[in-house]
Structures are given as structure tokens and as C-alpha cells.
């Protein structure tokens, strides 16, 4: 969906809220935090909607806001965890594809926040190396090496691809 002056915030949020929520869930691994992240992202867009709605690619903009909100929040949580104010987040409770969910989220949770963001943006949002690098303010080489390492670790954690291959 492209940004246009006439685009209504409620329409946009209704159409894209769920996708932002799913991305947030993969980033943070917790449904409640994901909801807060999606809400914060949409609230930031709302607060600047007049300008945000004129963005050439509003979806990309929203994704960038979400990722940076996640990374900023993650930094705050890390500090809080270091000083013992906050317990580290356990992996999400299992339901549905329970084993896969727990394994994937645990594997993602083991990655540093920026590497996790790279993996989610690269493989879930299907963004190019260049776009991810631009969004996270790092070089394409960093994205490639981090993604490659993260992918290897995820594969190790998740086991062989075949058991999870789609039906």
C-alpha cells in the first residue's frame, strides 16, 4: 500500500496492523510485547500521519519504525536486565505448531537483537541485503555475514529442513 495524502490512518492500520504484529512477534518472540510494539509503531505513525501518509512507500516506512522501536526497546530491556529490574523473557508458550514455534522463537531469541532483526527483515519480510543494510545503518557485508551465521545457527537449532517442509 502506498502513501497518499488521502489515505486514512484507520484504514491503513486495519489493513497492515496484523502484518506489523506478526513481524513484531518474530522480532521479540512474545505475543504481548509484539502487540505493544505494533501499537507503538502505529501510534508513532498516527502522531505524524500527515507527513507519514505522503511517504512513497509507507509500508517500508512502517517497517523501519517498527524495527527501530524494537531495537530501542531491546536496548532499554538489556539495561534493565543487567541491573536486575527485569527478568529475561522466556520463550513464548507453545500452542498450534507448538514444537516449531518454541524451537524457532528460542533459536531467534539466542541471536543478538540486531542479528535477529536482520534475519526477520531478510527472510520474513523478504528484503534485499541492501535494503536491510540501509534500514539498520550498517554495511551490506555486515548483513550478509550476520545473516549467514544466524541462518547456520537457526538450522542447527531447528534441525534438518525436511521435517518442517510444508505439507
Amino acid at each position: 500500500m502506498r502513501g497518499h495524502g488521502t489515505l486514512n490512518f484507520e484504514e491503513y492500520a486495519a489493513a497492515r496492523g496484523q502484518r506489523l504484529y506478526r513481524t513484531a512477534y518474530l522480532l521479540c518472540g512474545d505475543a504481548h510485547r509484539a502487540e505493544d510494539l505494533a501499537q507503538a509503531t502505529l501510534a508513532k505513525l498516527f502522531a505524524h500521519w500527515r507527513r507519514a501518509s505522503r511517504m512513497e512507500n509507507l509500508d517500508a516506512y512502517a517497517r523501519t519504525v517498527l524495527t527501530r522501536t524494537f531495537l530501542a526497546e531491546q536496548r532499554r530491556r538489556s539495561v534493565a536486565q543487567r541491573i536486575g529490574v527485569l527478568a529475561s523473557t522466556p520463550a513464548a508458550a507453545a500452542h498450534g505448531d507448538a514444537d516449531l514455534r518454541v524451537t524457532l522463537l528460542s533459536a531467534l531469541a539466542e541471536l543478538p537483537a540486531r542479528a535477529r532483526a536482520m534475519v526477520v527483515l531478510r527472510y520474513w519480510e523478504d528484503l534485499s541485503v541492501e535494503t536491510v543494510a540501509d534500514l539498520l545503518g550498517c554495511s551490506t557485508g555486515t548483513v550478509k555475514s550476520q545473516c549467514s551465521r544466524a541462518l547456520a545457527r537457526l538450522r542447527e537449532q531447528l534441525g534438518e529442513p525436511s521435517p518442517y517442509a510444508s505439507a
Binding site: 484507520e10 518474530l26 501510534a43 502522531a47 507527513r51 498450534g96 545503518g137 510444508s166
Partner: protein, 287 residues
């Protein structure tokens, strides 16, 4: 590595079984997520709170600028009028946009605070800054966000968006006799960034630079030139807090400084300065 190689590598990675496997796992894991109830309504409520907080935070200076606008002093030549000092806009029924002012806690400075300006002069400068803010808001890319005036610094503005806050400098400083030519110093791109000289419609050379800042992961975009008896410098800084480069490309900066609205503002400030004259340490010379 060139673009073709990058694309090829991207394609290879996309086809890699691991990548497909991870993508599919992510799909399956998030497929079962129920849509959060009332997300939009909560975001609107939260967004309103953010907007309100942001407006409250900009401080009381907005009230002064609002008063100026109500009295019609916000109308400046350069945004539709002819050359000359600030005049009162009479009989105009459109309400002028008023850009709020944000105040930062000043750091300790050994210098004595400047003497207060006469009221008429202060109003003239405020009106000029409002017109500049309007031009920045209208002509810079939307990604810079909402423009505000920075209190106590006539050439500084703050651009705020959900992605970060960027200081914007719009300076027209009297510098009679300063060099009019602008050149690019050759040097390593990773240290000096990129630079090119473009020309305004009247042939005035403008140096447009994208300069690395901090550890080099973010960039500042700036343009500098000389008009009449003044040095002009326009820049958008990166946001160090969020590690975000200035959301303005060199092309966008060149287009901005070349626009008639900007040049009207520059000519106005050249004829009726709003800044103190250039000090002697040659700062900005030939930039």
C-alpha cells in the same frame, strides 16, 4: 562488488534451502497468531497522547510565535511577497501555519549572554524564522518529519519524525568579501564523504556534500554557497541517538537550495541580516 554480483548472491541466498526453510517456519509460526483486538483504536489513543506530549514539550515560545501570526507578522517576502523588510499582512483570511519552538537546556558557556533585541527586531527575526520553517517543511523530503524552531539559535531547526530527530541548519550569515567560489576538496570518500558543485539558475556555485559523522556509519547532508554579501549554509544532521543518517540526499539538497522560495529567503536575509556577521576564524570559508 557490483550490483549484478550482489543481485546474484541475493538470488542464491533466496534459493538456499536454509533460507526457504526458515521463511516457511516463520510463516507457520505466525500464521496462527490471532489479530490483536482493538489495535487500531489503542494506537490512535496512544498516538494522540504522543502528539499532545510533543506539543506540550515545545514550550511557551510557541505562544509568542502564535501571537505574531495572529497579528499578521508571519507574512514574509520570499514566500510570495516582493523584496523588502517584514510587513504586516492585512486582510488575509487564511490562518498562517505556526511552527512551534523547542527549547533545549543550554550548556554552561563562559560567554556572556547576548543583549536582548529590540522588540521590532525580535519580531522581524521570528517572522523570518517562521517563513524559513515553512519552506523547510514544504520543500525538504517528507521523511525529515515535522519542523520546529530551536530557541536561542537563529539558524537552527529541529526535524522530528518517528524515525528520529535531525538538526537542520539554515544559515545566511553576513560575510562581505568572503570567497564566492565553492570547490570540492578531493580526498577519501570514507573520510570526507562525497562532494559536488552544482550551479543555481544565476550560475552561483553551490557545494553539496554528504559527510560521514561519528564512526562513519551515518552521514550529514549539506550545501554551502555565497549570495550577495552572505555565506549560506544549509545542512541536515544525522540522529546519533538512533544512528540514522540525514534523510536528505545530495540531489534533494541541491533541489532544495535551488528552489525560488529558498533563494527568496536567502536574498531577504542578505539584505536584512538575521545573524551576526562572520567572525574572523574563517569558519565555513570555501565550504
Amino acid at each position: 562488488m557490483n550490483r549484478t554480483e550482489t543481485v546474484k548472491e541475493h538470488d542464491v541466498q533466496e534459493r538456499a534451502p536454509e533460507a526457504l526453510f526458515v521463511r516457511e517456519a516463520m510463516d507457520r509460526v505466525t500464521d496462527g497468531l490471532a489479530e490483536p483486538l482493538g489495535l487500531t483504536a489503542r494506537a490512535v489513543r496512544d498516538g494522540r497522547r504522543r502528539r499532545l506530549r510533543s506539543r506540550v514539550a515545545v514550550g511557551g515560545a510557541a505562544a509568542c510565535t502564535a501571537a505574531l501570526a495572529v497579528t499578521g507578522i508571519g507574512a514574509l517576502p520570499g514566500t510570495g511577497g516582493g523584496p523588502g523588510p517584514v510587513g504586516v499582512q492585512a486582510g488575509n483570511t487564511t490562518v498562517p501555519r505556526v511552527f512551534p519552538t523547542v527549547t533545549f537546556t543550554p550548556t554552561a558557556s563562559p560567554a556572556a549572554p547576548p543583549a536582548p533585541l529590540p522588540e521590532a527586531e525580535r519580531q522581524r527575526i521570528d517572522a523570518f524564522r517562521q517563513a524559513t520553517a515553512r519552506t523547510l517543511q514544504d520543500l525538504l523530503p517528507p521523511a525529515v518529519g515535522d519542523i520546529r524552531l530551536v530557541a536561542d539559535d537563529v539558524s537552527s531547526y529541529l526535524a522530528e519524525s518517528p524515525l528520529g530527530s535531525h538538526f537542520v541548519r539554515f544559515s545566511v550569515r553576513p560575510a562581505p568579501g568572503a570567497a564566492t567560489e565553492r570547490t570540492c576538496t578531493p580526498g577519501p570518500v570514507d573520510k570526507l564523504g562525497t562532494c559536488r558543485v552544482v550551479r543555481l539558475s544565476d550560475g552561483t556555485p553551490v557545494a553539496v556534500r554528504v559527510v560521514p559523522e561519528g564512526n562513519g556509519s551515518v552521514t550529514l547532508t549539506m550545501a554551502s554557497f555565497h549570495v550577495g554579501g552572505s555565506d549560506v549554509s544549509v545542512s541536515v544532521s544525522p540522529d546519533g541517538r538512533t544512528n540514522t543518517s540525514a534523510p536528505v540526499t545530495a540531489d534533494q539538497m541541491a533541489a532544495f537550495v535551488g528552489s525560488p522560495q529558498v533563494l527568496d529567503l536567502v536574498r531577504e536575509a542578505d539584505l536584512h541580516p538575521v545573524e551576526e556577521p562572520q567572525v574572523s576564524h574563517n569558519e565555513g570559508e570555501n565550504r
